[in-house]
């Protein structure tokens, strides 16, 4: 069973120090930390898409970067293909990049404006593979074909392409080295609705074609539900619920998940449901609330919630929840 897991994240933690100045470091007793990711654990099976969903500031992007070792974790372990990848020597870490790729949110700022598409796609190949010119051109044509573009696009600059086409280039670049895991951080948020669904369907197609595993990070619950095999909901640096998309959406258990799902504006005027309007905004991750971090906004909080921190517990097969009140 263990061999089925491509990625295992164990108690992963990332704090950012707030007082970085020399003065503050010398004179302040204990410096403050932004607890961006605070002890998250989950496993991703081979060929699975795990969606991470949450509002801005919940730590979902930091989680992605820390898993990829683009940020070094404060604590915890990341096991990729049966091997810990935390604290690898830099040469081994570099080789790891072939297998771990990323698709970024903004296709406007993640492509070098002064490079032709051909060169953007050749860069990963030049870094890791020693191909002849001809072979490389062939590979680039292949990559463009995978993402629904043609060789004609290869001579262009990023500004000559539309947002959707640019995101296709971002995807082709991530595919270039035949990775095993792709972390997609809000890959469709910057796109128009009609283009968004094109990219989502492309991601699904490529996953089938190449047996990819995705970690799909997004704030858009409808999008995450559509693409994911399992979903982790994050709040203030912690995973508060984890389960299958349909069961999470039909029957959300954690009060935060319930409010989040009820807040999605559905494009269907006849769709009747209970709306839960949460009061206030998300508290600061520098001094997160004691006990359960959601208790300050929770409509059903009891005294225990502010005193004792709940743990992520298995409440049903394939369903974990971090709440005292769920049996």
């Amino acid at each position: 069973m263990d061999g089925d897991y491509l990625l295992r994240v164990q108690n992963l933690t990332k704090y950012f120090s707030v007082n970085t100045g020399v003065f503050a470091q010398i004179f302040s007793a204990g410096s403050d930390h932004v607890k961006a990711v605070d002890g998250i654990s989950f496993d991703v099976r081979k060929g699975e898409t795990l969606g991470i969903v949450g509002e801005s500031g919940c730590g979902k992007s930091t989680a992605g970067l820390t898993i990829l070792q683009l940020l070094s974790p404060t604590a915890g372990d990341v096991i990729f293909n049966g091997e810990s990848i935390v604290d690898l020597p830099s040469r081994r870490k570099r080789l790891l990049r072939k297998n771990l790729q990323m698709i970024l949110q903004n296709p406007y700022s993640s492509l070098n404006p002064r490079m032709r598409i051909r060169d953007i796609l050749a860069e990963p190949l030049n870094n890791f593979e020693s191909n002849k010119r001809e072979q490389q051109a062939h590979r680039i044509a292949e990559l463009l074909d995978y993402v629904g573009l043609t060789w004609a696009h290869s001579e262009r600059f990023p500004h000559e392409l539309s947002g959707g086409q640019r995101q296709r280039i971002g995807i082709a670049r991530a595919l270039a080295l035949q990775p095993k895991l792709i972390v997609a951080d809000e890959p469709v948020s910057a796109l128009d609705v009609s283009v968004q669904s094109q990219i989502l369907n492309l991601l699904l197609k490529l996953k089938e074609q190449f047996g990819l595993t995705y970690l799909f990070i997004s704030h858009d619950l409808a999008v995450v539900r559509y693409i994911s095999d399992r979903i982790a909901v994050m709040y203030l640096g912690q995973i508060i619920e984890l389960g299958l998309p349909d069961s999470i959406y039909r029957e959300p258990l954690h009060p935060y998940t319930r409010a989040l799902i009820s807040a999605i504006p559905e494009p269907d005027p006849h769709y009747q449901r209970e709306r839960i309007v949460l009061s206030g905004g998300v508290p600061s991750p520098i001094n997160p609330p004691s006990g359960c971090r959601f208790h300050t906004r929770c409509p059903i909080a009891v005294k225990r919630c502010s005193q004792e921190a709940p743990t992520l517990r298995l409440v049903a097969p394939d369903r974990q929840v971090m709440c005292h009140l769920i049996q």
């Binding site: 283009v195 968004q196 669904s197 699904l204 704030h219 807040a263 504006p265 494009p267 005027p269």
Partner: protein
């Protein structure tokens, strides 16, 4: 043709049932407005000959993708189009008067008082170096005379103390806790949702009859979005104000609006009552949009999408602008712009499929 559409619309407003309570009369009518920008010798038309109206107490949704002309339409209604852009011809009739005939100083009395606007990005729209209380008071100072004329008992608005009171009340109205403390703070001290509440307070302090909300919740998280939408709904009901809600999110439309118009490449391609639009979308573009949103009952792999991309403003296709992406395109579509025809008194569409 144009005259026909107009009489068709006013007929519609007399007979249809939109769920709008009370008076059914028209607050503002935009007729045959084109906005053009001159660039490199050629004229670009981000808004091309559009006509529509908003009734009193109605929430009209304007949906479309980026570049469809939604924001330019809103700016033209406030006469905020700056050179090299200009409004070519047409009328904007507000309470029986044509806004395009007004002088700049007359317009200044209308903006913020009769027609107010809230923007997508509250952080970029608030003045970062001014306390939020002062920013709201600014509206009161500028529109003091009209506010006094409209509201006899508050003739003391001149005095600082009364203005502060009105500001406090305005902040309270948008559910900001501890308004007395908040009004002394600067925008960066507030969260995104709070900033948008301040924007709404500022827009409503002049008691406008029309609020133009341009993507008011796009920059906000879903749980905060729900708070702001609920707030806008309750304020709209309480004040019997009209709202033009500009958004790209059909979910927000389903939640908020009485009537919807869909824009594509600077034109209105479909206009209908909300339920009609979602139940019987007529234009292939509207149908495509609705099928390409992941919603609660869509299964994996079943999401449709519209092929291609929104055309660039410099290369808007001949005939029907959607013909390059339309799954039901006919020869006629490539040559001839379809008329805006009525399917029912409250449902119009610009598509050749429905001609004859």
């Amino acid at each position: 043709m144009k005259a026909g559409t107009k009489s068709g619309q006013s007929l519609g407003s007399n007979t249809n049932i939109t769920g709008v309570k009370g008076s059914q009369d028209i607050l503002i009518e935009v007729a045959d407005i084109t906005v053009s920008f001159r660039a490199n010798g050629s004229a670009l038309k981000p808004v091309d000959d559009i006509s529509f109206h908003i009734k009193r107490g109605e929430i009209l949704g304007m949906v479309g993708e980026s570049g469809s002309g939604k924001t330019i339409t809103a700016l033209s209604m406030m006469r905020l189009i700056e050179p090299p852009g200009r409004i070519n011809g047409g009328h904007i009739i507000y309470r029986g008067e044509d806004l395009l005939q007004k002088t700049e100083s007359e317009m200044r009395k209308i903006r913020g008082k009769e027609i107010a606007m809230i923007w997508q990005d509250p952080m970029a729209s608030l003045n970062p170096v001014k306390r939020i209380g002062d920013q709201i008071e600014e509206v009161l100072r500028i529109h003091r005379r009209q506010i006094i004329a409209g509201n006899k008992e508050s003739s003391a608005l001149k005095s600082m103390a009364t203005r502060t009171e009105v500001t406090l009340a305005a902040l309270e109205e948008v559910n900001i806790a501890e308004p007395a403390i908040r009004m002394k703070e600067y925008p960066h001290q507030l969260s995104g949702g709070m900033q948008q509440r301040v924007m709404i307070a500022m827009a409503l302090v002049g008691e406008p009859s029309l609020l133009i909300a341009d993507e008011p919740t796009t920059a906000l998280d879903v749980t905060i979005q729900l708070q702001i939408l609920e707030l806008l709904k309750s304020l709209q009901k309480g004040k019997a104000m009209s709202i033009l809600l500009i958004t790209h999110d059909l979910g927000v439309v389903a939640e908020m609006c009485h009537r919807v118009q869909v824009m594509y490449c600077g034109r209105i391609v479909e206009s209908a009552d909300k339920n009609d639009l979602f139940d019987n979308p007529a234009h292939p573009y509207t149908q495509g949009l609705l099928k390409s949103i992941p919603r609660h009952d869509v299964k994996k792999g079943e999401l449709d999408s519209i092929s291609g991309v929104v055309p660039d403003l410099t290369a808007i296709p001949q005939g029907c602008a959607f013909h390059t992406r339309c799954p039901m395109v006919m020869d006629k579509c490539r040559q001839q712009l379809p008329d805006f025809i009525s399917l029912s008194p409250s449902h119009q569409v610009r598509c050749h499929l429905y001609c004859d």
